[in-house]
Subunit: 476 residues, 2 copies
């Protein structure tokens, strides 16, 4: 049925070849294009509008928590990275390095930021004079660069856009509490704005951020059963405060070291939206971040009054704060239906002479493909309610899908079977690095996140007493 | 009088040493800090908030004109620059170059964008297939890098933030019209949002953008009489369409070349705001872009009810959409007055027990230092009106200041005298490069903009017939 249309024919079968489906969808819907340099992407207007909506939602949440935006330099002296031993080891292999500028060889090579702990730490050490300057919470929206061998638009590119929040606190307790609170902000945002259910919790030491004491993550299940790390919040303890002298004069007049954290999400979230909700027809976008929330398609547009009625409806919906398109192109209604379905617009409104006469409109949901006849009167209210329902139902559908694909395993064979079948696999773990490595080697799955509050008898690898339950999955 | 306060003592005398005054103000008010790499700046929260307000105002104006935001890669292959001969000559000496990435020497060095015509031109050539794809109007908010020898925060730094709009049209007329329309958008924004009056018009060929057919500029007079190029809009003709094959299939089925334009403003505008309105006490910020529009300072804050009344007032003003601070710190009221004056907050509200009893509040304008007693009732309306008045008066004051400092000159000595006295100097010009160069050599002034519609008998340099009247000034 879906195969009847010419747009779907351009997209690989989502069940047969998920990676190709992804590539086809992001290119055909004009979310993104390849940049001229290998591994780079151009975010086209339709993709960038999703990012703008993500930014708006997150930025207001940050500001409510007293976070202030700022901007720090792109270029970081290479020597800064070496100040925190784990950090340099983690990031040095991936950096892009400027060696020539203004026609001259530079005395010290400069790294394009892969992340900004080092330069922000340096500035914070200047700014935190007294305990009155704490807590300090800054965030920047910016581009970062990590030179990757294998790239995919939104998911892994040499340059990407993100926000990185950086904080300094007087006590470990406050810093840890805030680290977890930010994870909570991300989770609420992912679920309510992106309709993506996430598992949250700590990462193993192997998987944590280079230089952190603890990394907390939110992990989302994509339609192929793989996990996508959708956001992280890191508690740094005093590691960066030591490396960058983030000191302040305490209440008692003694110099103290701060405790820091950082947290970030990136344009990767757009990839997560695509792979959580998309289907054989293309994108399915959650209303809160969809660039176009509803599209009006005229039926028999040449009949008197149809275009005018569509335009009036568009104005009414826009006045109510909705993002609306009116497709008055020469294409047939069927072509338009298919094209806007591919583009994932949450609600389509069909309006023809008979509808107008009867004071009705036909609404089509993108998520369920359900059609509903509704009165034209109070159209804005009706559409708003439907969008809210779509948003909620998309989260519930994604959650149900994920819940049906979480399995338990008590030995390596079951872990392998579990991930081969596209599941998240919960397994007991003794806590040693060898067992964690062995699972990765033999199944391709990595430890995504601790499953807090759960327990299992034995480690699925060595059979010794299990100390933790871990969610294992293959991942993006 | 102003010298009584400890904040003013930290700032150099604006009349005696304007450059030092500027540096003191931007650092002391925490707009900005120096980055660790020479010539870079950190935009601190108080400065970045101004940029966010600028972005919000401009972005909505762009979108109303059908411009869509997108994001293009930071790194541009060096070979791209060489495709447009003038462009490479103009920008190659200033670029920062990545030669190593991911641990390996790159086969082709990559430039950090100094501007994005070349990479956007490359993508547009892919995207403009048919006349239906035109006009194409994209914009990006991003960082760019130009390695400069002499730098000053906001005014000239190796990295800065800006927006760059890029368009492609089917005809020269449309492209030229849009180039001028964008200049109009900038002018309206500069005057109504930043309270900065600007002279707009064409640049001489010497001063135009490298690769443009024509550059249009808005020039603002700073308090020292120097000019600041606050925004530009460039008509490219088919120069970039030729260099990057921006072709499309026209209505008649024939391949046609597009006509392109680009336009941009940057964080430089923050420098323009500071140097247009600042005074001996520090910043004076126009309400539309001020991070804090009004600050409430309690008088006798320990007296019962004062803090509560201030908080209630703050809530009332915030509910009305205003950006409000309530300074409930331990500092004395006098200290607070001086600090918030230095920070340029447009309106201060003083509220003490006697005011509360009388149902009044004391309003102090930052721009005129005038004080007004007003009823507490309808406070939000009163403050809003006052802010609108401040905004309008700031523009008028700046305009009157500029008008009083535009002089005419008919010979080199008068030009020199004019600019020495801190004026914009209008002079006749024969149109030849030699005369333009000579004025720069002998007076330090450059041709800022054509004064359209004006005429003078003779060229102020060679005495031949004058073809144009030019505004000459020393410039940032």
């Amino acid at each position: 049925m879906a195969k009847e249309n010419q747009f779907v024919e351009q997209i690989a079968d989502i069940n047969a070849d998920f990676p190709q489906w992804y590539t086809d969808v992001v290119l055909k819907t004009k979310l993104v294009d390849y940049g001229p340099v290998k591994g780079t992407m151009v975010i086209r207007p339709y993709g960038y509008a999703i990012w703008e909506n993500i930014q708006k939602e997150l930025d207001s949440r940050f500001k409510k928590r007293g976070v202030e935006n700022a901007y720090f330099p792109l270029l970081i002296p290479m020597s800064y990275f070496t100040k925190e031993a784990e950090h340099v080891e983690g990031f040095a292999p991936e950096v892009a390095i400027v060696t020539v500028a203004g026609g001259e060889e530079l005395a010290e090579p400069l790294a394009i930021r892969p992340t900004s702990e080092t330069i922000i730490g340096t500035m914070m050490s200047k700014w935190t004079q007294s305990y009155r300057d704490l807590p300090m919470k800054v965030n920047q929206w910016c581009n970062v660069m990590r030179w990757e061998k294998t790239t995919r638009p939104f998911l892994r590119t040499s340059e990407f856009l993100w926000q990185e929040g950086h904080t300094a606190f007087a006590s470990a307790e406050e810093a840890e509490r805030d680290t977890l609170a930010m994870l909570g902000v991300y989770k609420e945002f992912a679920e309510n704005c992106l309709a993506i259910p996430v598992l949250t919790g700590r990462k193993t030491d192997k998987e944590k951020f280079a230089g952190a004491e603890a990394t907390y993550t939110m992990e989302a299940m994509m339609k192929d059963g793989k996990s996508l790390q959708a956001g992280t919040s890191h508690y740094m303890g005093q590691n960066f405060a030591n490396a960058f002298d983030i000191q302040y004069l305490g209440k008692e007049g003694v110099l103290e070291k701060a405790y820091t954290s950082s947290w970030g999400v990136s344009t990767r979230l757009i990839g997560a939206v695509i792979m959580t909700h998309g289907d054989e027809r293309g994108l399915v976008l959650p209303p809160v971040v969809a660039p176009v929330q509803c599209v009006i398609v005229p039926i028999a547009a040449r009949k008197g009054g149809v275009v005018e009625a569509c335009e009036a409806l568009k104005a009414e919906l826009e006045n109510a704060g909705l993002r609306v398109a009116f497709d008055n192109s020469d294409n047939s209604p069927g072509w338009k239906f298919n094209e806007w379905e591919m583009k994932g617009v949450p609600v389509r409104i069909e309006l023809g002479p008979r509808d107008i006469e009867a004071g009705k409109m036909l609404l089509a949901r993108r998520d369920t493909l359900e059609k509903l006849e509704k009165p034209l009167e109070n159209a804005a209210e009706t559409v708003k309610e439907l969008l809210a329902t779509v948003q909620k139902d998309m989260l519930e559908a994604a959650r149900a899908r994920r819940e049906s694909r979480i399995v338990y395993a008590d030995d390596m064979a079951s872990i392998l079977k579990g991930v081969d079948e596209g599941n998240f696999v919960k397994a007991g773990w003794c806590g040693c690095r060898e067992c964690e490595d062995k699972i990765k080697e033999e199944t391709g799955a990595t430890a995504r996140v601790f499953a807090e509050g759960e327990s299992r008898e034995n480690c699925a690898v060595c059979g010794k007493k299990s100390e933790h339950v871990i969610v294992f999955a293959r991942a993006y």
